[in-house]
Homo-oligomer: 403 residues x 2
């Protein structure tokens, strides 16, 4: 008998039909002799509806009250799912975040899980009940409702799996696993059976948002085996687990991220401390910088280019322009017509030729590379957005469709 | 500075406009220098929508999960009201039943308040915050969500007023007070300035459902002054408080109840123990009997008539018919085309002529009386439903429109 945590996202529980489908998956797992803890998100558009309702009343509601409002969403879906499981004749109980022991920080809207007091969860499993837990939420030290922010429900599920020492944590979504590329764009994309935590982390940051990084990081830290699978197809999904050299693939996937803009600061004096000045300024305003590229100094000046999220471009430009003089820059230019295309694979550390193969693939399709960034298991290039589909195709063909 | 508890029902908070209106009432009270605790019901049809959603999934969901689902309703309205108050620039915090210290029994769907731990409420008032509390809900000793059943939010408000020693508990509804008769039916109906707890209790049971009995009983027990008023008109409402002989009115109101059916058991042997047998049987099935009338025995047999809620008539008949022989009854007849019309007034105890005046009023309009029931402060008659409007008019005219 194993303990299995199953997490279902908003689209998996969006209506009665989907809830009954989920109840069927959950009770099938239970019937096989497993203990089951289910973590649910709010139904379909509930959260968006709540945000809209709030906006009608107050354009800038406090985050505390927003969390009070939003956390009702999972309460609804958890109760309804419990009812669907009851109807099938199985013992079940739904628990809110605070009842399930989720003790969080007080950062309303983006709370961190501090600990999970598992006593209630254990008591319910001892009674042989299926336990349905509201994801995305907890309670802070003041006894107030908090929500965990983006990827919150995945994180809730992994936190339960970690503290309850679950054997498997299944993340049910609307895709049936992790692919070597976006299967809607690249028909030849291959579903992976296994991927390592690190590869999954790189893919998540690269715009292939199957799992949120927070949950993968936590799974890695506590060595929780994840399975990403679809609540509709019921096929085996992709397992995310500790890197196993024996099975290591050279490249595990190609990802594309269009939500990006490039900014270049041209002609700054070639002296120390400049990068620090610029990036600490941006960081203090909550602007995250991704790829950074600094040209080698020439004639006493150099250029610094970096990428930010597309919706931060205007703010970044405004911030820097008031600063151009202090920086001694001759000009600042920007381009949001760019894409970042990346390949990820734990295998590439020991294969120095991978980058060259990727660049070759791009060259054969006449794709110009603006910036390059590499890590041990990832290579990213910044290119014209117009070239990006073609680039992904070329790279995928190179690594996955040829012998 | 006074402490005022204000309770707003579902229609008072049904949308953004109404919520803003409530926020205005609440903050006006606060601006006058009062401490304010606000108790809210779920918005408009939320509860019905939830019940419908649940029914789609499970025709007989457990009461525990139903409470988990329903209690999300007040959470939504409390958070939204807090946001509306924030927008007006006032310090505010919303609290769920369990956060506000509502400790209840475990009768899901119909929980009783065991105690209110006021520490959090006091702490928030000490910070000069307006406190918005979800009505209708609490938490039992297992730490599970419970709801209080019918009239629950009124009861929540009175419970807070009682334990916090509030100076006044205002119940905002969609009527602007307690009238001598239903003002939609009797244009001459008069709004009462004051009514006693006992009169209010009789009126509530008589189908003039302005306040639920539970809340009035609790207010009486703890001597909490209630005010029933409208959230829309902002006029002074009706004060419900301890009987004050000096102000006592002869009659405080006329009420009509159509949700009633009469059942008669004809020709049962005139011997002891029969009434006990019949009514203990009904009570064991949760059927509440209202007026009971037993004829004087004649020729060794007697008839027993009583009234039940209209929707319990079929069940009652079925129960009794399987029992006719044991009872030795010759037949059982029923009629759901009846109305109960009642007058209530603490003054009538010392005025024996009140009943006669009421019967006279009915006689002059040719209304036939089927059954009569009296208490110290109430006289009820059962009549044909077709006569009921006319009967109320006649009685109202007699007691309120003539010198």
């Amino acid at each position: 008998m194993a303990l299995i945590v199953q997490k279902f996202g908003g689209s998996s529980v969006r209506d009665a039909e989907r809830l009954n489908n989920v109840a069927d998956i959950v009770t099938s797992t239970y019937k096989e002799g497993n203990d089951v803890i289910v973590v649910v998100s709010a139904q379909g558009d509930t959260t968006d509806d709540f945000i809209e309702k709030a906006a009608e009343i107050n354009e800038k509601p406090s985050k505390r009250e927003m969390d009070m409002l939003l956390s009702a969403g999972e309460q609804i879906s958890a109760a309804l799912l419990a009812m669907a499981i009851e109807r099938l004749g199985f013992p079940v109980v739904s628990l809110l975040g605070w009842q399930a022991g989720f003790d969080t920080s007080s950062d309303y809207g983006n709370a961190r899980i501090k600990k999970v007091d598992t006593s209630r969860l254990k008591k319910e499993l001892d009674k042989h009940r299926i336990v349905v837990v509201t994801g995305f939420q907890g309670v802070n030290r003041y006894g107030d409702m908090t929500t965990l922010g983006r990827g919150g429900s995945d994180t809730s599920a992994v936190a339960i799996a970690a503290t309850m020492h679950a054997d498997l944590c299944q993340i049910y979504t609307d895709v049936d696993g992790v692919y070597t590329a976006d299967p809607r764009k690249i028909p030849a994309a291959i579903k992976l059976d296994v991927i390592s935590y690190d590869e999954m982390l790189e893919l998540a940051t690269l715009g292939a948002q199957v799992l949120h990084n927070r949950s993968v990081e936590m799974a890695k830290k506590y060595n929780i085996e994840l399975e990403v699978l679809s609540s509709l197809t019921r096929r085996k999904g992709t397992i995310v687990r500790e890197d196993n050299k024996m099975e290591k693939m050279l490249i595990s996937g190609v990802a594309k991220d269009d939500n990006i803009a490039r900014i270049s600061i041209i002609g700054v004096p070639d002296k120390p401390g400049l990068a620090f000045k610029i990036f600490s300024k941006l960081s203090s305003k909550g602007i995250n910088v991704d790829i950074i590229l600094q040209s080698i100094g020439r004639n006493g000046t150099k250029d610094i280019s970096f990428t930010v999220e597309k919706n931060k471009m205007e703010e970044t430009l405004k911030l820097l322009s008031s600063y151009t003089e202090t920086l001694g820059a001759s000009s600042i230019v920007s381009d949001d017509n760019v894409s970042k295309v990346s390949i990820v694979g734990a295998g590439m550390e020991s294969h120095p030729g991978v980058a060259a193969e990727m660049f070759e693939a791009l060259f054969t399709r006449n794709v110009n590379i603006q910036m390059i960034s590499t890590s041990e298991i990832k290579i990213s290039v910044l290119i014209n957005k117009a070239d990006s589909e073609r680039a992904v195709e070329a790279i995928h063909e190179k690594f996955f469709e040829t012998l």
